[in-house]
Symmetry: C2
Subunit: 196 residues, 2 copies
């Protein structure tokens, strides 16, 4: 029987954690973002392909670049957040496989196979985005993940000249509990799962 983490950790990661819309004003330092990445990077990806690439938008200039990419309902909370993580994935991820998965020629599985590259980058970059959210919570941060933005505009503003594409955004900081929406319901095991 393996190790089960304690109730408090389950609350922080899953049960009490909420998607935040307001922030208490405390900044988020780069050291903390590095600590979050050092946890998130350990999560599993297919052939250890690790396609996620993250840009942390913190400076006023970078916020000005991000603002016109957002849908209206996401502007105020994002401009007020201490940091916004742009979770992207690198469509050239397979060029790192000789280092990341050194015991076989995994790069050759992908070269020239654009559909496989895109699906693999999206799936595994998204897994890493979820690891990032839970790692941030584990380090005491609150998250506000969002899909409400123009991916092409973000790619032009932040990833021009690279093979990186944006996936989703995640505000990070210390949330203001007064600005939470009521918790929405979830699907039960019997609605979403089946044992066969």
């Amino acid at each position: 029987m393996g190790t089960v983490i304690d109730e408090r950790a389950l609350d922080v990661l899953f049960r009490q954690a909420r998607t935040h819309n307001g922030w208490d004003g405390e900044p988020v330092g780069e050291d903390l973002l590095r600590a979050v990445w050092d946890l998130a990077k350990m999560g599993p990806t297919s052939a250890n392909c690790s396609p996620a690439r993250i840009v942390f938008v913190i400076s006023p200039e970078a916020k000005r670049k991000l603002k016109p990419c957002l849908i209206e309902g996401n502007i105020d909370k994002t401009m007020a957040a201490p940091a916004t993580a742009i979770i992207g994935h690198d469509l050239a991820f397979h060029d790192r496989l000789p280092e990341l998965f050194p015991h076989t020629d995994a790069r050759s599985w992908f070269v020239g196979k654009q559909a496989l590259i895109e699906t693999t980058a999206f799936r595994n970059g998204t897994l890493q985005g979820a690891y990032f959210i839970l790692a941030a919570r584990a380090m005491g941060l609150d998250c506000g993940p969002m899909s409400g933005f123009d991916n092409a505009k973000v790619d032009e503003a932040f990833f021009a000249g690279t093979a990186i594409q944006s996936n989703f955004l995640c505000n990070v900081g210390y949330g203001d509990p007064d600005k939470l929406h009521p918790r929405s319901p979830r699907l039960s095991f019997d609605e979403a799962c089946k044992v066969v």
Copy 2:
């Protein structure tokens, strides 16, 4: 400053956790799978859309159906696993939005927009797959996630007549540490992240 979970939980979830290839023979009961889901379901999805659907393959008949869908390198470890989760997503997820996101007509954002439906289901179902992996680890289980299988064959065998598509597989059980491969390297913060 928020709550930071303890070092032991960080080890169990991220730092010491490994992708397992062998299993110690102890079964995984349905009660435990329900407890894992009850954590994983709490993770955030876009508009609470919750598209993930999971089939847990446990019985000998279900394993026989799964076997011909796997690439050769994944057959033995999967047939030996106490349970294999087929993580899928429902392309009709938006039909549940009136319950899951009741304060606006979110269903209408998706009806007839097949590309948006597919991207949203894949992204959010994958996030939920990652929450599942970390929730399973939190409950003391070990995981062996895999993309090495034929998605179309799994869909035909397990999701025929539904709008559910398979995403990835995840063996769950109690891992045999003697069958672990050496840990592969990860990209550092400076290789994968940037602060702007």
